[in-house]
Every structure is written in structure tokens, then in C-alpha cells.
Symmetry: C3
Subunit: 273 residues, 3 copies
């Protein structure tokens, strides 16, 4: 159950190896601590295997990638796979440069990812080889809405089947699917898109959920999406009239810090298709 | 008009490529989002040209530079120039090391910058080949005041003429000039110098203003300075008795998030010389 | 006296060169500014000696190290040593990978550190060649408590004698010792361990204290620990019911910004053994 996914993170306190961009790395570390996990960041090839070996899960985020960190991603990913650790890919900016798209594709060829989490533009770039990405943000043309929900659910189930990974596509409506079931999640607030790195934070949080719930990955991934969305709703509710995106960032991480299984269960808004 | 410069950023939502230091990069991303722009950070040479090609403006900040990122700065700068994008240089720490001074000089030889934005010590190091820099902060000996205002206005107009760039020199009094006109701006609060990266944030914000107002660059650069200073005044007004520089950082970005053209016009304090 | 250590930082405003990880670097810069110091971050070998030459102290933190930054650590450390600057080592994650342990050992062979500051797992890894580290956090098996206090005091005095450095071991109870005296400090709150980088922040703060109190290093190091712990207590006292680790991070830096010598003296809880 959803609440168990959260409580397992708090009781197990998984150690997560993050190879992630330097833009939002501090927020990723703090949200992992907020949910009860323990983060470690390491992107030097010479220690990538050592570090991932002592961890319970691996979060690979390709924002601000470079040749050195790409090498570390491959080394850590192969090691984590050999150890049976959960592994998540956040293909930040796939479609925005050949390097990012190719890096994501290369990683997916070599490493089995339990979850691939991105926005619709990034996932379309990977699944279809093209998209209308706007940098690291989703293009307006791609947004999931009730009008195209059926086709988007079909699209990500299909991509989950082809990739062999759970696909988590986040946006105004969030979809988390394997080849047979899709969580359609309606938590969250539009103001979250005015904060850098809510997606990166979610990827870090989700890796902690996966590591603490290895036998129940689809529900764990969905629960992480619900928690992030609910934390956004709580965060917006605490905004003072003069506060904006910087305070909202703090309120969201704070809400994750305070959340327990009961409040997550009560606040989660989703259906399974 | 000043207010139009702000409103254009919100309506156009320019995508800004930032090659910037890892100290303040999160705040740069959040302030660009706060003003209505969309940031992307990328400093790997292999993708620098791709990324800048999909953007509307380029912000080069040499703090925490390294050989790899310097190469990316050159590649992105030349590509952005060939595409007619606006380009800003923030010569963080010029004068503090030979590498920083030389990198700024090399970039200026190869790339035309629409604006060079720095503190007085950095700009003196570039214009005069010497300064009394204190690391990345301006030396007290260099501060612009009413006593030396006439000579400083003459200095930066002269440097604007020689460099062919708009010069934005920020400090207690801010000066933004081309070869014929200088905005003398008196917004801001001294507490802003206790936050790391208010200068970096302003450079990111200013690049968004330039990208959204390409036909009106001098006024756009000045408007960005006014917004940052006014946000500082608003931020200080919201400080609780026990709050300090970390909260002020949030308040400032929040104030940018909330600001509209009318409040900017009403709060701006400047003259043109 | 303790309060003088703080006031000296404010009056001297030392410039600190930090080679530190990109996870918590922004908070390190802001806490150094909060205490009255001035930070500069630079990790490119080509400028490491130049930058450290204009500074008053050097803070080397091995989190998110890579081959390039390791080279910069050695160059800056040797230069700082030749200039008589204070130098601090924060061996983040020593024991978690061979690269981190070996890098710390190599640095200690080549550079004399005035202070080595870490958690108990990191310091045991360096002193004993083994530990039960949990990534970058101390293992529960290693925690200093009243039950093992005598033996831990003996351990760090012994390690101080062997290494020739002041040892600062921080945790539930903080110990700061040279070979003959050990400060046992009981400031701080357990919630601080839910924030990424309180240790990194303390190392930055402590380097500023050392640089401003070069004739009184043991007391200065202890005073920095007391200030950080007291700031944590003040920070927790300001937490609203819905606030968590992200807001606490801000409250702590804010408390350092507001603290003066009198409040530090009145709030410090310690004995010398």
C-alpha cells in the first residue's frame, strides 16, 4: 500500500548513490534526507564502483553531464546492476542535445533501469527519436491533459514494454506505468514548474522509494510521485503573499520531511488504468 | 520603458544557456525562473554548441572555471555570436588569478559580448590591467560613491567605447553604460553583499532581459539591475528579527517572482547621465 | 576567550579559499559570509596557487572529488603551507571508497593540516585504517556517547599526537583536541543531521575562525564547533510546525549571521579534559 512505501523508506533508510547535475544537487540531497534516506554523491570514475557497492540504489541524472561523469555513470550502473541494486535514469534534457540523447540511449543499452523518469518531451525524444523539447522543460505542445490522456497512457505502457522499465512521466498529470498498469496521478501544483529541479528531486526521492520497496517497484515509484505532488500542494498552501519559488522550494522539502504514511494515503489522488 | 523590459521577459519566456559556476548555479536557475525565463545549464564542450543553438541568450560566468568549461565557453560563445544571440560575460574574480583574467581577456577577443557585468574591481582589472580585488568581492578602495561618481561614469563610458560592450558595474551605486549614456541606479541594500552570488544572479537575470529586449539592450540591462536592487529592498523589508543572509537570498528571489512592471517602475531609482 | 574568536572573524574578515564539493558549496559560501568571512571557491589546478596566495586560509573538502580537483588540492595545500596559511582537511567519505581514503592519506603526507575535521567514522577510517562508515554519514556503531567518552577522548588526543593536527570529531557530542587538551562540546541538535552539509559548513566556518585566530587555533576550532551547535539550537527553536530540514538549513545560517560574541559565550556548553 502507498503508505507502506513511505514508511519503509523511513525504517530502512536506504543509502542512495546519486550521479546528478550540479544545479539541483543540494536539493536532491536534502529531499532524500527529508524522506528518511541517506544520500551520497560521487561522479569520479575511479570511485564510482566503490561508492555504489556500499549503497542500496543508484540515481543517474544526466543534467550537466560531461565526459568524465558519463564514464562514471556507466561504471556505477554496471556495478549496481551486477549487485541487484535498483537503478533509476533521469534523462534531463534528452532531445536538447545530441550528447544528452545519445548518452541516455547508450546507458539504456548497457544498463537495465528499473525506472526511467522524465518529462514528456524527454521521454518522447527517447521513445520516438524526436520531440519539441524546450531545453530541460517540457514543451507546451507535449503536455498531458484529459484530452490526450488515453493515448498518453497507451504510449507509456507501450514504451514500458519496449524498454523493460517502469516509465514515470511527470507533468500536469503524472503517469507511472509498466506494460500492464498505469497510475494516473493528479497531485501537484503548477507553481512547482517555477522551481528548478523538482524533477531531479523527484528522481532522488523515487530512487529511495525503490530501494526501500524492491519487491513493489511500480507502486513505490507511484507513491514517490504522489508524495512529491502532495508536498507541492502543502508547500503552496504555506506560501505567504510575498513568497515565491525560492520559498516554495523550501516548503516542499519541509513537507516531505514532515509527511507520514497516513497523510500521504489521505492526500494521494490517483487511479490505476 | 523599464516596465516593458520586465513584461517582455514574462511574455517571451526566453530560454537562457548558462555556463556558470557551481557555487551559485541553483540560485541563478531559480532567479531566471522567477523572472519568467527558462534556464538551461550545460558546460561540456561536446554539447555547448547544440545547447546554445536552441536558446535565446548566453550567460558566461567564469567563477569556478576549469579547462573543460573554458573550452565550452569559447564554443558556445562563437556559436551564439554566429546566431545573433545576446551574450553576457560575468568575469567573476578577474584580477584574482592569472587564469581568470586571461580567460576573460581571451573570451573578449574572440566573442562580442553585449554586456560585461562585474564589480568595480573585476572591471578595473580588465580595463586597466590592475585592481585591488579581494577575491571575488570588490575591494573597499574601489567602491563607487558620490565622491568619485563623475570619474567612474567617465571610466565606464570610456571602457564601453573601447570594448564595444555595454558595461554594468554593480556595487553600492550601480552604473550601466554604453559609450554615450550611463544609468546611475540607487536601488539595493548593503545586506545583499552578505549573500553569495547576488552578482551571478543578476547576470542570469540580465541575460534574460537582454534576450527578451534585443532592440533595447541598454535599458534592458539597466532594468535588470533595478529589479535586482528593488528585490533586495523588498527582501530586506521582509526579514524577521532572527533572519539573516540565507533567508534574504530566498526573499530576493521571491520578490523577483512576484514583481510586475508597475512595481518595478514605481520602485526604480535612477538617473541617466 | 571564545567570544574573542568570533569577534576576530568579524573584524578581520579573512578571505578563505575553499576546494569543496558541489553538493553543499553554496551553503559553505553563505555560512562563511554569515560569520563575517569572505569565501572564494576555485578548484582548477592552473589557478589553485594564485587563488590561495591572496587568501588567509584554505579549506580542503574531499566530497565529490575528482582527479582534477585532487591535483588542485595538492597544489593549493603546498602553496598555502609555504605561505604559513591555516589549512583544514574535511575527509568527507573517507572509508567509503579507496579513492577518498587514499586521497586523504596522500594529502596528510604532503601537507600539514592545522585541523582535520570529520565525523567519527571518517576519522576512524584514517586513524585505524577501518571503520563502519555509512557513506558520508557516521555509522551508528561509532557514535560518541557518555558511555564511551573517556575512550574517545583518549583516541582523539592520541590521533592528534600522531598526526600533529588538531582533531575535530563532530557528532552528538563534539570533541576538539590536540595532544594534551580536549574540548567536549554539548551544543547542537539531532535535527542537524537531517540537513546535507552541516559538517561541510562547519569546516568552512572553522577555517575562517582559524584564519582570524592563528595564535589560538585549538580554542578557535572549538569556538567554531560551539557556534555551529548553538546556531543549530537557535535554528530548531525557530522551526514552525510545518517546517523541516530545508528551512532549518536557512535558520542555522541566519543564526550564524546574527550571532555575536556575548550570545556565543552565554550559549556555549563545554568542558575541557
Amino acid at each position: 500500500m502507498i503508505e507502506d512505501c513511505l514508511e519503509n523508506v523511513r525504517s530502512i533508510s536506504p543509502l542512495i548513490h546519486n550521479i546528478t547535475n550540479y544545479v539541483t544537487v543540494n536539493d536532491v540531497a536534502n529531499i532524500e534526507l527529508a524522506c528518511g534516506a541517506s544520500p551520497i554523491m560521487a561522479d569520479e570514475p575511479d570511485e564510482a564502483e566503490d561508492i555504489t557497492s556500499i549503497c542500496n540504489g543508484l540515481n543517474i541524472n544526466i543534467g550537466t553531464l560531461n565526459k568524465r561523469t558519463i564514464e562514471a555513470m556507466h561504471l556505477a550502473g554496471k556495478k549496481a546492476m551486477s549487485l541487484g541494486h535498483v537503478i533509476l535514469l533521469d534523462p534531463v534534457g534528452a532531445g536538447a542535445s545530441a550528447l544528452r540523447t545519445n548518452t541516455a540511449v547508450d546507458l539504456m543499452e548497457e544498463i537495465h533501469f528499473d525506472v526511467i523518469r522524465g518529462n514528456v518531451s524527454e521521454l518522447k525524444a527517447l521513445a520516438l527519436g524526436s520531440s519539441s523539447t524546450k531545453g530541460v522543460d517540457a514543451s507546451a505542445a507535449d503536455v498531458v491533459s484529459d484530452d490526450n490522456l488515453d493515448s498518453m497512457v497507451a504510449f507509456i505502457k507501450d514504451y514500458a514494454a519496449k524498454s523493460g522499465s517502469i516509465i514515470a512521466m511527470t507533468g500536469a498529470i503524472d503517469l507511472v506505468a509498466d506494460d500492464s498498469a498505469c497510475y494516473v496521478i493528479r497531485n501537484g501544483k503548477k507553481e512547482m514548474s517555477s522551481i528548478t529541479g523538482t524533477g531531479c528531486q523527484l528522481s532522488g526521492l523515487m530512487t529511495a522509494y525503490l530501494a526501500a520497496n524492491p519487491g513493489n517497484k511500480l507502486e513505490a515509484a507511484a507513491a514517490a510521485v504522489m508524495e512529491m505532488g502532495l508536498a507541492g500542494e502543502i508547500g503552496v498552501s504555506h506560501l505567504l503573499p510575498y513568497e515565491g519559488n525560492s520559498s516554495l522550494r523550501n516548503h516542499i522539502i519541509d513537507a516531505v520531511y514532515r509527511m507520514d504514511g497516513t497523510s500521504l494515503r489521505n492526500g494521494a489522488r490517483y487511479e490505476v488504468r
